[in-house]
Amino acid sequence: MWKDYSWSSLKNNRASNLSVVIAAFISALLLSLLCGLFYNMWKYEIERLTLEEGGWHSRLEGDLDQEDIERIRNFAGIKEVAVTEGKGQGGGTTAELYFDHMRDVYGNTPRVAALAGISPETVAYHHELLAMYLVRDPEDPAPRLIFPLFLVIMAMASVSLIAIIHNAFAVSMNERTHQFGIFSSIGATPAQIRACLLQEAAMVCTLPVLAGNLLSIVLIKFLLKLINVFLGKGIPGRHETVFAYHPLVLGLSCLVTVITIWVSAWLPARRLSRLTPLEVIKYSAEPELKRRKSSPVLRLFFGMEGELAGNALKARKKALRTANLSLVCSFLAFTLMLCFFTLSEISTEETYFKRYEDVWDIMVTVKGAQVDSFEETRRIRELEGVKNVIVYQKAGAKRLVREEEISEEMRAFGGFDQAYGQEVERTDEGWLVNAPLVILDDDSFLAYCRQIGAEPGLDGAVIRNQIQDVSDPDFRHRKSGPYLKGEKTTSLLRLAGGKEVSGAALAPGGHRGERAAKIPVLSYAAQVPALREEYGTRDCYELVHILPASLWKEIRGQAGEGEEEIYVRVLAKDQASAEELNRLEEEIVGIVGNVYRTESENRMEEKTLNDRQIRGMMTIFGGFCVLLAVIGMGNVFSNTLGFVRQRRREFARYLSVGLTPAGIRKMFWIEALVIGLRPVLITLPLSTATVWYLLKMSWMEWPVFWSRAPFVPVAEFLAAVWAAVALAYYLGWRGVKTISLAGALGDDRMM
């Protein structure tokens, strides 16, 4: 009989069952997704650890002879011993132990060590690997959180999913409480009612749970592929994730889902069994307002229908709470995520790619070369597609800035007030500041001289004479002005870190190990050669000297002061494609690589890589947000639908006292509007505030963000939400339209 009853109830309550089906499907999907992803992550982590550090459980090190090893091998519970000779830190032999049961590791390894006559101090454990199997050493203080973290996430997800399913069940329960009251009054025991509810839950949920689990397997496979594509190529040598799905994972996620559903079906059953049958029968499916409330705004705008709609929404506040919450959360998360990505994209672009568009296309770092002796410059310049080549080298030096040299602007910016750390050293004669040297090949230096309008020459340096107003915290829009007055025609540099060289006098006040070199100054200029380096940003007080290779050759003293590297900066002809840049990069490396060790980068390639990483992140986060949104929307849909369905009697009553169907339609519109607008009204100010804060933090301006703001996806998301609400109300409206007044009212539920 229960089976008959359940079947006919299922047939008669399609709408509310649909919401249960959706809820079950989504929670099964999510739980299984979480479990599966975690399993894969866990497996990946173990594979990575095994690959990078070995799969041993613990390790002994010391003087081990064949006999010791044999003894270890025969120790009970040891599966395998891998011996490496002479590789230990003390030159001793290491033995890597594998145990049959991992939990024996911490207990038995010291015993094995004692057996082999090795001090227990040399014993090492593979804590990370063991922690992945939840085998923890009580003395290992490091918090190995992956596992617990996942458990917490699982628990949280389960609780929220229980809330969703429970809510869906509650809606369909409310509709039938009266019937269970009748059953109870003619002698159905609480256990029988509970069994009926559980049986029904099983009937409704089996298929969606299976479908959710299967779909999640497909999704995990897809997600892992995405992760491999987007992240795998970014990190060279990264171990690729391989999809795997253990039957145990399926079992676990099914179990959690089933428990969840069981609890959700059991909760209302228990609540029922606590009431007397009379209370249950009288329990009306229509929640009533506890206190008199009014909705002045809605009444003002929409008249009587507005007030009715407002009261209906208020009376069912609790039922709609989960729907509202999940909708607001998912919408907020989605919007914030998009804003955050847009901001970080703008930021990388502004600070990285845009700025370097006219600065470099290919950078080749040449190891062990000196700019004055590098001979391949000409051949690189002659390559096809090359517009401009600068070969340069960097060196560090210090220089004294005297009080009388400082410009008026610099004084106005506060002088050296803001200096800290290693930037500036106060001495009796003035301030000792960093003076980075940029040494250009001679041709580039002459071109640079012409560019800044100085007399070209190879016997002196150009000083970058510019400083920012450090006192202004808005680092993107700081004023700048000349650093020095620019009257002196020589500059005394203290070259760092060389051997003392005869002939180079120790500079006044200089330290030992520093050499002084007095060089002529050709010009003071605000402009620096177009290189990737930036000056005056980290250390605002540095005084950059740009010098030609010929001059450097004279002052640098003996060659071979440690390993040097020079940079070949190549700017390709305009609009060079990625392929052209790749070809050019290969050719240059081909020329230089014969003689030197090189590393090379290519701006386009970096940009694509970066783009891909961002897109990968967005896909993953976006996926989660969409999942969240699907929950929210499913929830809204099922709730709204159930909400409308539950109110047939309410509507019948309205109709019977003369409210027209058009009036009811108006009520529906108002309700849908309120439900749909709420997330927007909550999200808009919150996300505006967040974006405002982020913009302020990164000193960006509104218009920049505005022109790129993610309006379209947010609008699409919103449209989807509204569509879900509208569809639910439309379906509800169809149900109400066919309402038979007599039927709905005649089925009186009072005793």
Binding site: Y5, F183, I186, A188, T189, Q192, P277
Partner: protein
Amino acid sequence: MEILRCEGVSRIYGSGQNRVTALDDINLTVNRGEFVAVVGPSGSGKSTLLHILGTVDKADSGKVTVDGTDLSTLNPTEAAIFRRRKVGLVYQFYNLIPTLTVEKNILMPLLLDRKKPDREYFEEVVGSLGISHKLGALPGQLSGGQQQRAAIARSLIYRPALLLADEPTGNLDRKNSGEIMDMLKLSNRNLNQTIIIITHDEKAALEAERVVTIEDGHIVGDERRR
């Protein structure tokens, strides 16, 4: 032989200003095979008393014994089984399950007990109530009188010790209510069925051998005729 005994039964709804004493110190005994009519003005506590006797509601104080069972000692499961086997309840409004056929609705107390229905008795009950031709229909497709007959059939199907009916003829015309009263009297006489009915209907009350009058939660009259 005594089948029902109420001693000092009280039922109070609400609290404070909304406090309503629906039943106040009711003492009543009914013997097996009696046909009792309970009458009284609206709101006097008739339905409340019936619900307490049928264990769908609980008395706040006092003791109710039905067929030797003290109702206050029953846990929810025992109470359900007691309702199923010992009492048949007919409500003022029919309270049928709208998604099950009339036949299933009638057989429900038996099915809850996983008992095979006695076909002969079933035919007899539905036959005498005149709803044999409506067994396959859903309750919504029946008239009010037919629904009430189905509810009565359901209350009789287990041959309960006590049949409690709350205005079974309240919504019916003279002909229909006469038929139902005849049917109840028949089962009272033939099966020695103990029956307590609530009614506003003078004529129906006159059919009973004993009339109990309730006013404001007190029994103010108990008249045995014949």
